[in-house]
């Protein structure tokens, strides 16, 4: 037990994490490509045309995984932030700031693909629906996190300030979600909800799950790449970075 603990903390230092992350990145890229191709093939080639929505529904193969990832990445980010505050590890802050842009991109993608789907289905690019609004607020939270971190020059302070913001945001997310929901029920009733769709064909579900897996792998690969650059930038004065860079030349 003790041994295992030591092993885990070994990879909490940038010096030992950097090479192992470098080794893992190509694998995650490969998996992302495999799952992506399979998911898109099932989504656009195999899955049947929806009876009510026609071909337009196929955007969900990108939309739903993007929305899932945008929410999940925020939780992971808050997890790293809490870990960084509790254990004062350098790597946690780096992971949190490496994840934020990916999460923001997914939140934006979810909104954008949702708008593309909403125009033919609802007849509007944007509706002040509970889900749309809370996803928009999530995007704002990501942008606030990124803006705060980039405004603070000292990386340690940026990490900790960002961590507090991420944790406050994560407390607020359920409140925002439910407040928006209750607020919305006053104004408009029904809207199309994917979770309540009566019957989803098995192939559709598979396509969506494969695409979600592809997005997962992509997120991990990109976050690790970004974390590696952040490591090099912040640790540029240390021996190991200098050794690494001179080796390459």
């Amino acid at each position: 037990m003790n041994n295992r603990l030591i092993n885990w903390f070994k990879y909490a230092s940038p010096q030992s994490f950097y090479p192992i992350a470098g080794k893992m990145i190509p694998w995650f890229w490969a998996l992302a490509a495999v799952f992506g191709v399979a998911g898109l093939y099932i989504g656009f080639g195999v899955a049947p045309t929806d009876a009510q929505q026609g071909e337009g529904y196929r955007i969900i193969f990108l939309h739903v995984p993007a929305a899932w990832m945008s929410m999940f990445i925020y939780l992971v980010m808050a997890f790293w932030a809490a870990l960084g505050l509790a254990f004062n590890t350098r790597l946690s802050g780096m992971m949190a700031s490496a994840l934020a842009p990916t999460g923001a991109v997914f939140a934006f993608l979810a909104l954008w693909t949702g708008a593309l789907w909403g125009k033919p289905m609802w007849g509007a690019w944007w509706v002040w629906d509970a889900r749309l609004t809370s996803e928009l607020i999530l995007l704002f939270l990501y942008i606030g996190f990124i803006a705060l971190q980039s405004a603070i020059d000292d990386p340690r302070r940026a990490d900790k300030a960002g961590a507090i913001l991420a944790l406050v945001g994560v407390v607020n997310i359920p409140i925002i979600y439910f407040s928006v929901k209750w607020w919305n029920t006053l104004h408009q009733g029904s809207s199309v909800s994917l979770t309540k769709s009566p019957s989803m064909a098995m192939t559709m579900l598979w396509g969506m799950l494969l695409c979600a897996l592809a997005f997962w792998m992509y997120s991990i690969a990109v976050a690790l790449m970004r974390a590696r650059s952040i490591m090099l930038e912040r640790e540029r004065h240390t021996e190991w970075v200098r050794a690494l860079l001179t080796d390459k030349e």
Partner: protein, 222 residues
């Protein structure tokens, strides 16, 4: 504990009273923003009545936010904040005192001004009452949540704009329930549900926010 909070409140109030221009300018900002809407939208009474809750609440959010950067900036500049952080009493309580003082000079006057501005929007007497009550209940949460943002952006480049970016998304629930309470009164539903949720938000915010603020202040002071 109570003496500490009371001391912080009376100190901050005295400082605020010596600089009344700050308070008055925030009030006039509130009045001007609210007055701009009828000019921009047009004077139809029906439309204004419908818009009033949202407009008044959004203007209150913005006016509160305008006064937030000063919450810690002056104390930070002259070193008072460091002394407060070194004091044996928990920093969270000091922050709680400062939040209450901030509410007394920003939230409370807003709530008292709001019914007068509500008359301009042709709100009924009931709606004016609910508007005042909802602002009285809701603005402490604004001061509390805003304190976190003020502490995080303390001494940071472009702090003012950044503060609005951080704090406004977190203000959304307060806005929804505050404006919702007035809206429910205008449309004939009771405001009780909205007011209760608003009260819950305020209690939660005022209880938890000082501790997050204290943690953020310690980071800023490192």
């Amino acid at each position: 504990m109570l003496t500490l909070i009371r001391a912080v409140i009376s100190r901050d109030l005295r400082l605020a009273m010596r600089r009344q221009a700050d308070i008055v300018s925030a009030m006039f900002f509130f009045i001007i923003v609210v007055s701009l809407f009828p000019l921009g939208i047009g004077p139809e009474a029906d439309l204004l009545r419908k818009l009033a809750p949202g407009v008044l609440w959004v203007a209150a959010l913005l006016a509160t936010m305008l006064s937030l950067p000063r919450l810690f900036a002056d104390d930070h500049r002259d070193g008072t904040l460091e002394q407060l952080a070194l004091a044996p009493q928990p920093l969270g309580l000091v922050v709680l005192g400062k939040v209450i003082a901030h509410w007394l000079v920003s939230g409370l006057p807003l709530a008292l001004l709001a019914p007068i501005l509500g008359i301009q929007f042709d709100l009924s007497n009931d709606a004016l009452w609910v508007l005042t009550v909802s602002l009285l209940i809701g603005t402490p949460a604004l001061s509390g949540i805003g304190a976190i943002g003020a502490a995080l952006t303390l001494g940071v480049r472009g702090g003012g704009v950044l503060l609005s970016l951080l704090v406004l998304p977190l203000y959304i629930p307060v806005l929804i329930f505050g404006a919702g309470a007035v809206d429910a009164t205008v449309t004939g539903l009771g405001p009780q549900a909205h007011l209760s949720l608003l009260g819950a938000l305020t209690l939660g915010g005022v209880f938890f926010a000082p501790w997050a603020t204290a943690a953020a202040l310690r980071i800023a002071l490192e």
